[in-house]
């Protein structure tokens, strides 16, 4: 009598064969029932495949292996379900926006563009976005860095705990609420009116917690031996921070800052309440309403003017390109990171 040492398993070709069977079954179903479209067919096929594979595995390998195989199929399906929208969003934006994204579109504003005109461009909003994001960086980065240094290097007492709590709270602020903050405080409260700078404040509020967090994390990763070596040479604390700790952490901090910039560049909601939007070029960000690229997309998308939808897609493509460039640049900087952080 032979003793089986291993539990029976499905042969290696079984998943492929069962996939074929599921495909045949799907084809039959689609042919017999009213057509369901591509997405529906795919869902039916995957469900059929999972069912057939699980049943076959259950019959041959038992309940535990069957559950394992089912989990694999479901998890692979989840990855597919997560990647599909990304491909569709990017692909559709390129398809709809590419032909509108011309030199003319980049170098002209919407001044004097009537509801029947199909031309016009994004120059004014591109300029606005550059100014607003630039000013937001100028506000948030020094403040965030100094705050992070305080928390990590000096802060022990109640203030550090309070600041850390406030930063935590700020991380979760919805962007529209940051816009409302600035609206209530700067635009109405101090009577400054809508301006690009008001938008910068609200973007800086959104950036600040990210900058503080990533700087804090990176500064904590700097080995204490480096600090001690510096102190042993008689270097004072402030000089140690500025010329040893911060340069060592700089690549990681830069990545954090750039990811924060990429995030706020695409923010629309705060601009709506602070910069308000404007059709012509306005170079001065401190006085009067200004446009911004995300706001432009929103305005054109909700406009009923002719050509507005095409302009919205072209501007959306431009916006994605800007954000993705920033994002890729941030990732490239990470490679230089000697501290091996994960953010």
């Amino acid at each position: 009598m032979t003793v089986r040492l291993a539990a029976p398993t499905l042969p290696r070709w079984a998943p492929v064969a069962l996939g074929g069977a599921a495909a045949a079954l799907t084809a039959l179903l689609v042919a017999l029932t009213p057509a369901q479209g591509r997405a529906g067919t795919l869902v039916v096929f995957l469900a059929g495949y999972a069912a057939v594979l699980t049943v076959a595995s259950y019959a041959v390998e038992g309940r535990r292996r069957a559950a394992d195989r089912l989990a694999r199929v479901l998890i692979a399906g989840a990855v597919g379900a997560a990647l599909t929208p990304l491909v569709l969003v990017l692909g559709y934006t390129v398809a709809r926006g590419a032909k509108g994204l011309t030199g003319y579109f980049l170098y002209h504003s919407m001044r004097g563009i009537g509801p029947l005109d199909t031309h016009g461009g994004i120059y004014h909003s591109l300029l606005g976005t550059l100014e607003q994001v630039g000013l937001a960086i100028a506000l948030a980065v020094p403040l965030g860095l100094l705050t992070a240094v305080y928390i990590t290097e000096f802060g022990r007492g109640r203030l550090a705990a309070a600041v850390r709590f406030v930063v935590d709270v700020m991380t979760g602020i919805p962007s529209i609420v940051s816009g409302l903050f600035v609206l209530a405080f700067w635009v109405i409260g101090l009577g400054q009116g809508f301006s690009g700078f008001a938008a910068s404040i609200s973007l800086a509020i959104l950036m600040l917690p990210v900058v503080v967090r990533s700087a804090e994390e990176m500064i904590r990763l700097v080995p204490d031996s480096l600090r001690e070596a510096s102190y042993a040479l008689g270097v004072p604390r402030w000089k140690t921070v500025t010329s040893v700790v911060l340069p060592t952490a700089s690549a990681g901090i830069t990545t954090g800052v750039m990811l924060a910039v990429a995030r706020v560049t695409g923010e629309t909601a705060p601009l709506l309440l602070t910069a308000f939007g404007f059709d012509s070029i306005r170079r001065n960000p401190f006085k009067g309403p200004q446009s911004g690229l995300p706001l432009y997309v929103f305005d054109q998308a909700t406009s009923s003017a002719r050509g507005a939808v095409d302009r919205a897609w072209a501007a959306a493509l431009a916006l994605i390109l800007v954000v993705v460039l920033l994002y890729v640049a941030a990732r490239l900087v990470t490679r230089r990171n000697r501290l091996g952080g994960t953010s």
Partner: protein
């Protein structure tokens, strides 16, 4: 110099603190006159007519719409996000891990206005049949009920939830992945050595240890969904009498989307009313985020 440097960092830390407090105070200050002029109850009134004479507005319908869309988005997104996170931490070959991380991060980096635009012009027309199907066959599911004869689908709350789900997915996936990766490899190996299948190893070793982290990942995703503005404002066709029926063609509205769509035409009381509603949104997201961080923090300290 030492003292100056120390003082400078302390001053900026204090400034961060003071700015937040001052701004919160301004928000309350601007909301109070509008709330005083309200002839209805802010908490229970369902309509939003702050600029009428007498002014009538309330957040009941908006809060309900915000919570329903966000929860529906999570119901759709969380299983997929956990699947992605498990794939990256448990199944993916090492070579695929980093690129998959980049790709999910990229999904998070796409601006919300682009998701909104895509939702209106790509997704909503293609979802019409699905929505009609759900309304016809699954109307027993809570919130899927429709009154016969009422238009179904289109820019409904359900469509908004699907777009929100796509936007929340990368956040939940990224944080859960980090939590899964933190489970020591030896725990998995111990389970596998006892003869567990991969799935059993995940259920025995990985999931119990990462439950608090996953819960807080889901809550952070909820925080994001609650505050999302522009995508919802673009996708949703807001109704005058908001309802909670997910599949109704003219559904409800959310706090954030209501601010974005009503702000342009709002008068002084209107703006005050919108600020008041923003304060409510702030309070809700604050609670959600603080709870999420508390869970994550407690978990990290215990580990």
């Amino acid at each position: 110099m030492e003292a100056a440097f120390r003082g400078g960092t302390a001053a900026s830390a204090t400034l961060v603190f003071v700015v937040i407090v001052a701004i919160a105070a301004f928000l309350v200050h601007k909301a109070v006159p509008a709330l005083d002029g309200n002839s209805a109850s802010f908490l229970t009134e369902r309509q939003w007519l702050p600029d009428r004479e007498p002014s009538r507005f309330g957040i009941a319908a908006l809060v309900a719409g915000t919570i329903v869309t966000s929860v529906a988005a999570l119901v759709l997104a969380v299983p997929v996000a956990l699947g992605v996170a498990l794939f990256v931490s448990e199944y993916a070959p090492p070579r695929l891990k980093a690129p998959l991380g980049y790709v999910t991060d990229l999904l998070a980096a796409v601006p919300s206005v682009v998701y909104g635009l895509w939702g209106v012009f790509f997704l909503v027309p293609r979802m019409q049949k699905l929505q009609e199907f759900l309304a016809a066959h699954l109307s027993w599911v809570p919130f899927f009920r429709v009154t016969p004869g009422e238009p179904v689908g289109g820019r409904s709350l359900f469509a908004a939830s699907v777009v929100l789900a796509i936007m929340v997915l990368p956040i939940v996936a990224a944080i859960s992945r980090e939590v899964f990766v933190q489970v020591p490899q030896s725990h998995r190996e111990a389970a596998l050595a006892l003869g567990a299948t991969k799935l059993e190893a995940i259920r025995i070793a990985v999931l119990p240890a990462s439950r608090p982290g996953v819960v807080s990942a889901i809550m952070l995703g909820l925080g994001r969904a609650l505050g999302e503005t522009i995508a919802v404002a673009l996708v949703l066709s807001a109704a005058f009498t908001p309802s909670l029926r997910l599949l109704r063609a003219e559904g409800g509205n959310t706090i954030a989307a209501n601010i974005a769509t009503k702000f342009g035409e709002a008068g002084v009381p209107g703006r005050g009313a919108l600020i008041a509603s923003g304060l409510v949104l702030f309070a809700i997201t604050l609670v959600v985020n603080v709870v999420a961080r508390a869970i994550l923090f407690r978990n990290r300290r215990a580990a």
